[in-house]
Symmetry: C2
Subunit: 336 residues, 2 copies
């Protein structure tokens, strides 16, 4: 049986992550994971005429190179499963143009990488597909003008704000792989959690309850202790959201160890003045495809729980006074 | 083996559609399927303060009543799989708030209902879930101001235009069901097809190549003739797109019979002056959850191929001169 409890799955034949590639912008390249990224851009337009086209080029570059890194060509890829936070996920669907693979577009805001990896793993474990490409991206400048204001206005950022990561991460997930490769051994599919936060400049507070729900459910249903993992990383809660998640879980009787942190809280250096840290659908995927994947492949990490987190708002919904629902999906990645 | 060829699946244990519900606006209620809809709104604001909130209420109403129609409560639902064409699919994710189910958000524009039904069926056939709720929606007024212009401008519509359907459709898909219930016996997952169309007022032309690719692949890989089905309905190509699809397939040596038509081309009456017909993510789902589902449940139709079609553009992508990629996913629904 592959299902444990209501939301948690432990796969009988865990799929392998056989290739990964990350592309980031110049600010991210100067951050804490600088050396781990596969491609560091010198400017965030990537020689394109718009930020949106630049994001698409980053996304496509990550996809194509993840396939190369896996020693494959696109003919070997059954399906592209991808998403991003641009309206109508055009960065993802446009990146899939010209490739002869099935396409499944997903949207869970910045939790999309978790959704893609979990759904993709299920499709492989269920015998429907053999090799999948999962990817997500985000771009600071395209996100700012879509969700907030044009950069030219020079708006001041409040202290609770996060900085959307300019980055894309892609992984190839396959039914078979080499010994020593990281495998997706299971995970927990999240529920929508909405405690009524309406502050669009405090995404950490909007997403922390969903991260808390997902982590609590994962440990309860899997029967695993937090100490089972070498590293537990949420997606892009930022520093405040990460600390809130730790607090909320402690209230529920679950103490997270020192191995718990957040991709968004870790991605930038303090002196980069992003306030709470990074966010965006490209945050957890670019950190996974760089730091985590390389640390796992080199034997420095064996068991990682990655929990991409998403805030399911739109500019219109916030303007109409709606609260911000959050979601989080946990993926358990292990070298067996 | 459940996979045939590269993109087509025939399920060994086809899941059952055990409940369906449709909600439509007043214009749709006066259309060709008027009597089949479960709820016909008298005004398209549904007593809400904005078109976006009205769409969300329609979506939620369809979801909740599909669960009721299946004789279930939300506690029985494992997962909500849904999507729509609003930015960040807020109509779908906001509708899932307050329900204690896993949530997977999808985006394939107006092909989302096909993607949801296929992915949902695979998750059931793979043993990961038992009962799923699949739903999509769209709203004429929220779509117009998001994709085009505020209605208050009174812009003239060109002859190739379609009218976004104000509607929501939801179905409950389950591992087990009663004899005589329609079952999802398989389908074909689409690829992104882009022949370079840039006219945002001619979605039929943008989507027809994807519909053609999906239909051609479905018949080739499944080994079925078009005559196998009592009805072959694309999603929202409209009249021009439907005729173009027929033409393109004839060029490839595949003659579609008289049983081929399009939900968008059929949904409105000629005198309603929508030009090419209906479109939107709620078009194929509301037609399926009303006319098709009821005709199948009453024994008037036994084998239906539904092929929701989507145009993967955003307002920003069109403003930047990008072409419009299309996608289509085919679902084979049969009473066995």
């Amino acid at each position: 049986m592959q299902r444990k409890g209501n939301q948690t799955y432990i796969f009988d034949n865990p799929p392998y992550i056989i290739g990964a590639y990350s592309v980031v912008g110049p600010k991210e390249a100067e951050g804490n994971f600088g050396d781990y990224y596969d491609l560091r851009l010198e400017n965030d337009t990537f020689e394109e005429k718009s930020y949106e086209k630049a994001e698409c080029k980053m996304h496509k570059t990550a996809m194509e190179n993840a396939v190369n890194k896996a020693g494959l060509t696109f003919k070997d890829i059954d399906t592209i499963i991808s998403g991003d936070i641009s309206n109508q996920i055009t960065a993802s669907s446009f990146s899939a143009r010209g490739h002869d693979a099935m396409y499944l577009g997903l949207y869970s805001a910045c939790a999309t990488f978790g959704e893609a990896a979990l759904v993709g793993s299920m499709l492989i474990c269920g015998g429907f597909m053999d090799k999948l490409l999962c990817s997500t991206s985000s771009h600071f400048s395209s996100a700012e003008r879509q969700y907030r204001y044009p950069l030219e206005l020079g708006n001041q950022r409040p202290p609770a704000a996060q900085w959307t990561v300019t980055g894309a991460g892609a992984v190839v997930i396959a039914k078979t792989g080499k010994s020593g490769a990281p495998r997706i051994t299971g995970g927990t599919v999240g529920k929508i959690t909405d405690l009524g936060i309406t502050d669009v400049n405090n995404m950490g507070a909007a997403m922390a309850p969903a991260a808390c729900e997902c982590l609590y459910t994962h440990f309860k249903e899997s029967g695993r202790e937090p100490s089972y993992y070498d590293l537990i990383l949420t997606g892009d809660l930022g520093k405040y959201g990460r600390d809130m998640t730790r607090y909320l879980l402690k209230e529920k009787g679950l103490d997270l160890p020192e191995t718990f942190n957040d991709c968004g809280a870790m991605i930038f250096k303090d002196e980069q003045e992003t306030f709470q840290g990074g966010s965006g659908a490209g945050c957890s995927s670019s950190v996974f495809a760089s730091f985590i994947y390389k640390q796992m492949s080199s034997g420095h990490l064996n068991k990682v729980l990655l929990v991409p987190t998403g805030a399911l708002l739109s500019k219109t919904s916030s303007e109409q006074g709606e609260s911000i629902p959050g979601i989080a999906h946990a993926i358990s990645i292990e070298v067996l």
